[in-house]
């Protein structure tokens, strides 16, 4: 059973809220990274609208680097985010979702690719830098935020909520 694409309004609204959370969680880098990954890999990609997804992902990347203020040359994370968002959107159009397990697996694969690409892009843009453990926090918390996005975007509100 193929899962239908979420509505664009809801998706953009969720992206805007999450982008705000990226700014708001700046004092907590680990949480901020998880929110950032959530926005880039789960919320921004959209099969029929790559430009919107790239813009949201780029904004997430600029917001993350801008609030971190650690790198001498910003833009590496934004470029990696845009690339991964385009890749995820393409995958969503090429291989439509068929269940939550596939969704989690896709997110895990995209998270690994995102980690590598972000590190490479930041290294190109700013030079050598530590790996950090943001990717680990994002991977550990993936079932939480992946399930949340799944419920908010693809399967609607919980029957218990109403």
């Amino acid at each position: 059973m193929r899962i239908a694409a979420p509505s664009a309004t809801r998706q953009n609204l969720l992206c805007a809220v999450t982008l705000g959370l990226v700014f708001l969680t700046a004092p907590f880098p680990r949480i901020q990274f998880v929110v950032h990954v959530l926005l880039v890999l789960a919320l921004a990609p959209r099969a029929g609208s790559p430009l919107a997804g790239a813009l949201w992902a780029g904004a997430a990347g600029w917001a993350l680097e801008g609030t971190l203020r650690l790198y001498p040359h910003l833009g590496g994370t934004a470029w990696a985010d845009m690339t991964l968002a385009l890749l995820a959107g393409w995958m969503a159009g090429r291989w439509p979702l068929e269940g939550v397990k596939g969704w989690f697996a896709r997110l895990a694969g995209l998270l690994a690719a995102h980690t590598l690409l972000v590190h490479l892009a930041v290294r190109l843009a700013s030079g050598p830098h530590p790996w950090g453990f943001g990717w680990l926090w994002a991977l550990v918390s993936l079932p939480v935020w992946g399930w949340a996005v799944w419920r908010l975007m693809y399967t609607g509100p919980s029957p218990r909520l109403g």
């Binding site: 780029g58 833009g75 470029w79 190109l124």
Partner: protein
């Protein structure tokens, strides 16, 4: 799906795709520029300009080397000219001072001889030489003004010269030992045989009255014997040049040691000096080498 055509003929999706590509490429290029965007252009320019910089460096180095070589050459030439002029000046100065130096050397040698002979010696300068003439001699610049009298012995560091023949108020004439009319009492150094030296001219003389029984060797030193009361005993006269046995006596020919042609300053012995003084001209005889095993 409704396709909206723009006024330039592009669809909305096309424009969105173009913007997306530009956005992605722009970000990628911005990332690839790295932390110091100017550094890429600088490195690129350096790489492109490296051959020309290498050539320019070689060209500048070649020019510098050439300039230094030219400067060194000019400086060397100038120094060569300066040294040549300085050398000519020094040669002229040396030529001018050569007589004085020779006279000074002669004076030093005479002073040394004067210290060796414990007699009151007087010095005089040769102002003229009549040696080429028959019975010629030397003319000294001092005469009775220095209390000189005839028959005073005349010598130089190399040996005896002759005796005073005549003394004027301010000049004196020397009868050289190689003059035919000169005679000096001499003795052979090794055999101690005495004789009378008579001049043969040209720096040579002949010893008379040496017995045939005497053994005289060529090269043996000839000293004054002091018997003529003109020279004390032991002053060097010359060396035996040739020994020819005669009927009654040996013909011993002697080369006088004093350079009679090149004398500029002489010392004068006192009139009738003592017979024995410390001989300064005695030549050290080489010790005979003993054979091994002999006491």
């Amino acid at each position: 799906m409704v396709v909206h055509r723009s006024k330039w003929g592009w669809s909305r999706a096309g424009w969105q795709r173009l913007v997306l590509i530009l956005l992605w490429l722009g970000h990628g290029i911005w990332v690839l520029l790295g932390p110091y965007p100017g550094g890429h252009w600088t490195r690129l320019a350096d790489t492109l300009a490296r051959p020309s910089q290498h050539l320019a460096s070689r060209w500048a180095q070649w020019r510098t080397t050439r300039k230094e070589a030219a400067r060194d050459f000019v400086e060397t030439r100038a120094e060569n000219v300066r040294l040549t002029a300085e050398l000519a000046q020094l040669r002229t100065q040396a030529a001018q001072e050569a007589p004085r130096l020779a006279e000074a050397d002669e004076a030093v040698r005479l002073l040394g001889l004067k210290r060796q002979i414990p007699l009151e010696l007087k010095a005089a300068r040769v102002i003229f030489s009549t040696r080429p003439a028959t019975y010629g001699g030397l003319i000294l610049d001092r005469g009775r003004d220095l209390d000189l009298v005839p028959d005073q012995g005349v010598l130089v560091p190399e040996g005896i010269v002759g005796r005073l023949w005549s003394v004027g108020p301010t000049q004196a004439k020397v009868l050289l030992a190689d003059a035919p009319n000169a005679s000096v009492a001499v003795m052979l150094m090794r055999s101690r045989a005495t004789g009378v030296l008579q001049g043969l001219g040209s720096g040579r003389a002949l010893i008379r009255y040496i017995s045939n029984q005497e053994v005289v060797q060529v090269g043996e030193a000839v000293l004054t014997s002091g018997l003529d009361r003109v020279f004390p005993r032991g002053l060097l006269v010359g060396y035996v040049a040739e020994v020819v046995p005669g009927d009654l006596e040996l013909r011993v020919q002697v080369n006088l040691s004093a350079p009679l042609d090149r004398i500029s300053t002489v010392l004068l012995l006192p009139f009738q000096p003592p017979l024995e003084v410390q001989p300064p001209f005695v030549v050290q005889e080489p010790k005979p080498q003993r054979k091994k095993g002999t006491p």
